[in-house]
């Protein structure tokens, strides 16, 4: 056992971090809010770096890495607040040729579609499979998103689309990648709060010297570290049980929304349970770490934290945008409770 990043993994994190600092500084990120969340040129740079083809085998033109690495890359993207339909575009890499791809679960009523002005296509997951809907087929009404970095539009009737694959594993993969982004958001919010606590002076000293503030920062770090451990563990379990690609459905779907997986069900083999337990666990802890750290970051900034100018709200709102995707936290808790 060596549950610590390898040299290659550290280099990968550093590389993505450098890319984010060079191309997605906070002014650029804020500017993206005015162009639908995606700039084609920057998106192409992400694609050329291999962000979306991480899991595609090398002999098929991809990077040929695993889920653990995908988690590390998405963690860095979250930390830098990089907007855009990152999760869908990675998952879509093996099944469609589009560059900017959204991914949602088929709702029973109207759909809220993220990045409606910039996507080429939308992948839709339901109990029967995954379907590609061309963006041109979508009739989108404008909506005012809470998160400036996650624009949304309403679609009253989602077309069925064209089948591109079975539904096996998609939800867990999406949940894992959302969790990675949120661990990154929790980190970014904590870093912003700590640097402010070091600089901001009141009563003649940095506010981070007061235990009330220092201890809030320590709790932010603790949440983030616990969520990170859960995320890395989930990545390793995914690599051990799923492999990087999209395997044929091995005897049952992993689509779970609205149904708790019965551990005694024939589908509930040991590996499957380990995977569900690890992914749902990472999901809950990452979502809560991002939410709490976002709120604490606002609090530590005091009045300025409540302004648009300070970046604290951007972490919090992006965390909120990522949480209600592919199952509520209660559903994930139910999945785990069934295994206690």
């Amino acid at each position: 056992m060596d549950f610590e990043l390898t040299e290659d993994q550290v280099a990968l994190c550093d590389g993505i971090r450098d890319l984010c600092q060079g191309r997605f500084d906070i002014d650029t990120v804020r500017g993206l809010a005015d162009c639908g969340g995606v700039d084609r040129r920057l998106w192409a740079e992400l694609a050329e770096t291999g962000v979306f083809s991480l899991l595609v085998p090398e002999d098929e033109g991809g990077v040929g890495l695993g889920w653990a690495e995908a988690g590390l890359v998405f963690e860095q993207l979250g930390r830098a607040l990089v907007p855009g339909p990152l999760v869908g575009s990675l998952l879509a890499a093996e099944v469609v040729d589009d560059a900017v791809v959204g991914f949602i679960e088929r709702p029973t009523g109207p759909a809220l579609v993220e990045y409606p002005d910039v996507i080429d296509a939308l992948l839709v997951l339901d109990g029967d499979g995954v379907w590609r809907v061309d963006a041109a087929e979508l009739s989108i009404d404008a909506a005012h998103s809470v998160d400036p970095l996650t624009p949304v539009g309403r679609v009253d009737v989602l077309p069925q689309g064209e089948a591109v694959g079975g539904c096996y594993g998609w939800a867990n993969r999406a949940v894992f990648l959302c969790s990675a982004l949120q661990v990154g958001l929790a980190t970014g919010a904590r870093e912003l709060a700590v640097s402010y606590a070091q600089e901001r002076q009141q009563f003649g000293k940095p506010i981070g010297q007061f235990q009330a503030v220092k201890h809030m920062c320590a709790d932010m770090y603790s949440r983030e570290e616990v969520a990170r451990a859960a995320l890395y563990y989930a990545g390793c379990v995914m690599d051990a049980t799923m492999g990087p690609g999209l395997p044929a459905n091995p005897g049952g779907d992993l689509y779970f929304h609205g149904c708790t997986i019965d551990p005694h069900d024939a589908r509930g083999d040991h590996e499957h349970r380990e995977l569900v337990r690890a992914v749902s666990g990472a999901r809950i802890l990452a979502a809560e770490a991002a939410d709490h750290n976002g709120k604490d970051c606002v609090q530590i900034h005091g009045g300025m934290g409540f302004t648009w100018e300070i970046d604290a709200h951007l972490y919090l709102k992006r965390a909120w945008a990522l949480t209600p995707c592919f199952g509520s936290l209660d559903e994930h808790a139910e999945r785990i409770a069934a295994m206690v």
């Binding site: 993994q9 220092k214 320590a218 570290e225 337990r277 802890l285 139910e334």
Partner: protein, 397 residues
């Protein structure tokens, strides 16, 4: 990152499991918790069995009689022994995990030869004399005085929270040898035999009604100078060497035991009937079980990260403070969940036979968890450590 165990690690686990399968049935029933002579015999007897089988001092270097195992093997050892219900390290804790490792790094060859083999064989029980009534979180302000008199230190003062002080043979003792120096620079680390004249040990009764803690009073106790470990007035540094061993693996048995307890509690919840359905049918209760499981799983993953960092660098990673802080809170939530299940039965300690129905150990646990955010550095101190040493926030002082 690789969470899979290597072939060697798997072989180590298999061999250990075979041995445990053979010896555990021969142990008989554990003694009553307040029968101290019997508990000493039980704990030291288990230590002797470990020694004879080559598992004593699992993390100690082999040149000092230990097994010289890797941190990962140590983790496997704790995981398997907990899983199979083997005795806990118990009153061998200080010797095996604090005093022994300190002697390995800091003591003279004579001191090492005198004590290390005896610790490994279960022939010496050690206790810790660090905290004082007026030196808790601010440990370095300790004031138990040691005055040099020829070949002896004459020690007068009081120690507190000394676990197993009433059955220990030796104490790792911090004393003030220079009252005029800055507080960290006037402390000395001594090996104190507990049978010296002038030592009085008084058990402390905890809120749980147990008495594993003691106060220890020193009235002009003469400790030979040859019992000093490290230089005079260098004891703070020697003590900090000890503390670094506390992180990493110290909570593995505790965490795994808690995970077993959660599974037992879930069975209780499924069997408790209220208003015509089981407590498990209550959405809030069931989801809280799910969340607690998630957090324990994550803490186990965090432990593996800390252990892997120790394996790479020789030092546990900063996850140790995070673990302790987070674990104390989660375990308190688990105790509260237990009491939502038990309702009025939570007023009664269960008899041993009735544990399954009444959750007697859950009642005791509700009291025990109060100590988790206090012992071995309070949660407030852990937050200071994280804030200052990891995040780089300015010190208050």
């Amino acid at each position: 990152m690789d969470i899979r165990f290597t072939a060697d690690e798997v072989a180590f686990r298999d061999q250990l499991r075979d041995w445990l399968t053979d010896v555990l049935p021969t142990l008989g029933d554990p003694p009553d918790s307040d029968d101290w002579p019997a508990r000493r015999e039980w704990d030291t007897g288990w230590q002797r069995m470990l020694y004879d089988a080559g598992y004593a001092g699992i993390n100690w270097p082999s040149e000092f009689g230990g097994r010289g195992s890797t941190p990962t093997e140590h983790l496997i050892f704790l995981e398997e022994t907990t899983r199979m219900g083997a005795p806990y390290v118990g009153m061998n804790f200080v010797g095996q995990l604090h005093a022994g490792p300190t002697l390995i790094l800091e003591a003279t060859p004579e001191q090492q030869a005198r004590h290390l083999p005896a610790m490994l064989k279960g022939e010496e029980v050690w206790c810790q004399g660090f905290s004082e009534p007026n030196a808790g979180s601010d440990l370095a302000s300790l004031s138990t005085r040691a005055i040099r008199d020829g070949n002896h230190y004459v020690v007068t003062g009081q120690k507190i929270w000394t676990s197993f002080g009433h059955v220990a043979d030796y104490c790792e003792l911090l004393v003030r040898t220079d009252p005029d120096a800055p507080k960290h620079r006037g402390i000395t680390w001594l090996i104190c035999p507990m049978d010296l004249p002038g030592i009085e040990v008084r058990p402390i009764t905890t809120v749980a009604g147990s008495s594993e803690f003691c106060e220890v009073f020193f009235d002009e106790v003469r400790i030979p100078v040859e019992n000093r470990v490290g230089d005079e007035n260098d004891g703070w540094r020697v003590a900090m060497v000890t503390f670094s061993f506390e992180r990493g693996t110290a909570f593995i048995s505790e965490l795994l035991g808690t995970m077993n307890q959660l599974a037992d509690m879930a069975d209780v919840a499924r069997n408790i009937c209220r208003n015509g359905s089981s407590a498990w049918d209550d959405d809030e209760i069931r989801r809280e079980f799910g969340r607690l499981q998630v957090e324990y799983d994550a803490l186990w993953a965090l432990t593996k990260r800390v252990v892997s960092q120790a394996q790479r660098t020789g030092m546990p990673g900063p996850g140790g403070s995070v673990f302790k802080l987070y674990y104390a809170d989660v375990k308190k939530r688990m105790a509260e969940l237990a009491h939502r299940l038990l309702e009025r039965e939570a007023l009664v300690f269960g008899d041993e036979a009735g544990d399954e129905q009444t959750g007697g150990d859950m009642v005791a646990s509700r009291l025990y968890v109060l100590s988790l955010s206090i012992a071995a550095g309070t949660s407030e101190i852990q937050r200071n450590i994280i804030g200052e040493r990891i995040l780089g926030l300015p010190k208050e002082r």
